[in-house]
């Protein structure tokens, strides 16, 4: 998360300076000061990451004898060992099986709600949006025991969950993640949808488009930037999710990759360089998703949040 925060900080910075420059608040000198300050802040953010990256390429024996301020002891073995010892292949697959359905389901369901909230004026619309948002404020830890007990009592057939209940199944994680992300997505999407001109819907109505068609063929293509931005965010959040995975799963071979990072630590001994290498491997997919969809992320979010 810190990586994404830094990246958004640095990419958002020039955009901010530019718009501010147009209105004449920041002159060139002030802009330079702002840039320097932001550069320093970005460095402070990045330092621990770069330090981890640096040490992940060094052998533990070398840093142990020469200290972490030394230079040398280069090796790629940390990555090889982290990959095999952490069984990252298996756990990345688990993360994929949790993240992709959860993100798809979240976006689909929240876009349905958002569409209704934005396009129709029922009496309880505002209340509904309020309820969705209120759920967002609830810390997930407070729901730990109720959710755990509830899931324990929900039976699933053997082919869906080998434990016979929601516990120890990916279903549980997909549902929990979807539930906790729905509120935020609904909020952003409904705000975004409210910015679509009403005339489009009037003409669609005139052409005989049903509500479903207005949603699926008219609204969805138009909110694509917002969906892309949310998808980026959601992939990052759900992929990084650690709490529910450790609570709801107790099978070692089912853990997502964040929990599997612990595999690199022994009961007492922890090879910190190896853990650094493992963390880099775990962080890579998120960084890739973020950088690929970066443009949508920035434009989509600002568009959705300023109107409505």
């Amino acid at each position: 998360m810190s990586a994404t925060a830094t990246a958004s900080g640095t990419t958002a910075a020039p955009a901010k300076a530019e718009t501010a420059g147009q209105s004449g608040v920041l002159n060139r000198r002030r802009g330079r000061v702002a840039t320097t300050v932001m550069f320093v802040l970005a460095l402070i953010w990045l330092f621990p990451l770069l330090w981890a990256l640096y040490n992940s390429f060094r052998s533990y024996d070398y840093t142990q004898t020469n200290g972490y301020l030394s230079v040398g002891g280069w090796t790629l073995d940390n990555y090889k060992e982290a990959w095999t010892r952490g069984s990252f292949g298996l756990h990345l697959k688990n993360s994929l099986l949790i993240t992709v359905p959860a993100v798809a389901l979240t976006l689909f369901l929240s876009s349905l709600v958002a569409f209704v909230l934005a396009r129709f004026s029922y009496r309880f619309n505002l209340t509904l949006l309020g309820v969705f948002l209120a759920a967002n404020l609830l810390p997930p830890q407070a729901l730990l025991i109720p959710v755990f007990r509830m899931f324990r009592e929900i039976p699933l057939p053997q082919f869906m969950s080998s434990s016979g209940s929601m516990l120890n199944s990916f279903w549980a994680l997909i549902l929990v993640n979807t539930a906790f992300q729905l509120g935020f997505c609904t909020f952003v999407l409904s705000n975004y949808m409210k910015t679509l001109p009403h005339e489009i819907y009037e003409s669609a109505e005139l052409d005989g488009a049903s509500v479903w068609r207005q949603y699926w063929q008219l609204t969805m293509p138009l909110v694509r930037p917002a969906l892309a931005a949310l998808a980026t965010l959601q992939v990052t959040w759900i992929y990084n999710e650690f709490f529910w995975a450790t609570v709801l799963l107790s099978r070692g071979d089912k853990y997502p990759v964040t929990s599997a990072l612990n595999n690199l630590r022994g009961q007492f001994f922890a090879d910190t360089n190896l853990v650094a290498a493992g963390s880099i491997i775990v962080a890579l997919p998120v960084l890739v998703v973020f950088f690929v969809l970066q443009k949508q992320f920035v434009s989509g979010l600002t568009l959705g949040s300023t109107k409505g």
Partner: protein, 451 residues
């Protein structure tokens, strides 16, 4: 996704969306779409919802004798996993029953044990002796194993460690590791030092080390449990094993003169310990002993993992000398690892049969033969052929010890140990003069936690 077809401008209809009815068919189609999406995610999730058995065949619990085995070592994490996996495989080979291994890394397993036992636990799982076991026995979450005791080759000390408050056994020991004072043989030889046998020897050694500009004790307190080792050994040398057990069970007070005496003694010894210990991990402390900057290190025998190979071969240890002649030096910390049968497990019979076998010398040998680093088997009938010199000495030391404690955080309530005592010990290291305040604060919280 099809783009909306744009047509020429038309006069706008003034029917608001909320008034115009919703077409039934479109709702049906929408539901179908949602269903398809759910189904797609479902098939993805179902792909790997089966647990992987360690050996061929289906998961445990199906056929009679098949058993599910939860272990606190991640798959492929090293010798500890290799041993447990080999033990599971040997059981299959012997009885034909399948063992489905569920491998979770050590710390996660330990931290989520409560949800594990209340959720869908495996039949048999790895756990620790002492209070940590007894509290689950008390809560009825682990099964009574008194019918498989006595186990051939297990001494009374182990039986005692496997016994809960109600006098029944709930635990099968498999291995242990002692806490002792480790040092490098070459460093001792070079300086003409020998293992201290008495308190006078010990104090003389400390002074001599300091004179030669070597810090006598390597010391680390960043891992909050590490200083507990020092507290434990001082407590057992000054007040004895029985006092340690009563104290950890809340029957003796933490602000008693006995406990204060432990801290007073520790305070006089602190100048012989490495400074700034709060910012140091045990691995760093072990390194400074390996480099010869420090003379000795009081730690568990896992210290060998934290030093380079050449230093590991050079290590030796002695037990902490007696500080009070009437108490002696016959108690030590030697945490015991082993197995419990979960009350919530699917198959009690199969679990108990497996647990019984796990205590045997045969099981210990199967584990040790498969691993590069053997554990010290609890069963006295187990082969010692693979043991290194340190392990052979450990066996001797533990057999000579009259009482074996499990370590402070295993002998008492986990909340008390991890949230109260750790902080108190770190405060003591910061401010060694505030013994009254520190002991009073532990006692106050111990009273509320232990009830």
């Amino acid at each position: 996704m099809a783009r909306p077809v744009t047509r020429g401008p038309r006069p706008s209809l003034t029917i608001p969306g909320s008034v115009s009815g919703v077409d039934r068919r479109s709702i049906l189609r929408g539901a179908l779409g949602a269903g398809a999406l759910l189904a797609a995610s479902g098939s993805l999730a179902a792909c790997s919802s089966d647990s992987t058995p360690a050996t061929s065949g289906g998961g445990g619990g199906g056929k009679p004798g098949n058993v599910k085995f939860g272990i606190n070592e991640a798959k492929g994490s090293g010798p500890a996993y290799d041993r447990l996996a080999a033990i599971a495989a040997a059981y299959t080979q012997k009885t034909g029953a399948q063992v489905a291994v569920n491998a979770v890394d050590h710390n996660t397993f330990q931290e989520s044990i409560t949800t594990y036992l209340q959720g869908s636990p495996d039949d048999v799982f790895t756990w620790f002796a002492g209070y940590r076991m007894a509290q689950f026995a008390d809560a009825g979450q682990i099964s009574d194993l008194s019918d498989i005791w006595p186990i051939d080759g297990m001494s009374d000390a182990f039986k005692k460690a496997a016994t809960a408050e109600d006098g029944k056994q709930y635990f099968v020991p498999v291995s242990y590791y002692p806490w002792a004072v480790f040092y490098r043989k070459s460093v001792f030889e070079k300086n003409g030092w020998t293992e201290p046998k008495s308190q006078d020897d010990f104090m003389a050694l400390l002074k001599d080390m300091q004179g030669k500009k070597i810090t006598p004790f390597a010391f680390a307190a960043k891992d909050a449990w590490a200083p507990m080792g020092t507290f434990d050994i001082l407590n057992m040398r000054l007040n004895g094993y029985d006092f340690h057990m009563e104290l950890t069970k809340g029957k003796k007070k933490w602000d008693s003169p006995e406990v204060k005496r432990v801290f007073e003694t520790w305070k006089t010894l602190l100048p012989y310990h490495q400074e700034n210990s709060l910012g140091r991990t045990w691995q760093e402390a072990a390194t400074s002993m390996a480099k010869g900057e420090c003379g000795m290190y009081l730690l568990g025998s896992f210290v060998v993992d934290g030093v380079p190979k050449d230093a590991a071969d050079d290590l030796d240890f002695f037990t902490f000398p007696a500080l009070d002649a009437s108490i002696g030096a016959d108690a030590l910390d030697a945490p015991i690892d082993g197995f419990c049968v979960a009350e919530g497990g699917a198959d009690q019979e199969a679990g108990k049969a497996f647990a019984k076998w796990l205590g045997s010398a045969e099981a210990a040998d199967a584990g040790n033969n498969a691993s590069s680093v053997p554990f010290i088997a609890a069963n006295s009938g187990a082969s010692t052929a693979k043991y290194g010199p340190l392990q052979k000495k450990s066996v001797e030391v533990v057999q000579n010890a009259k009482s074996i404690a499990q370590f402070l955080d295993r002998d008492t309530n986990a909340d008390l140990a991890n949230t109260v005592i750790t902080v108190a010990l770190q405060n003591f290291i910061k401010k060694p003069d505030d013994i009254d305040g520190i002991t009073a604060s532990i006692q106050q919280q111990a009273a509320s936690i232990l009830g």
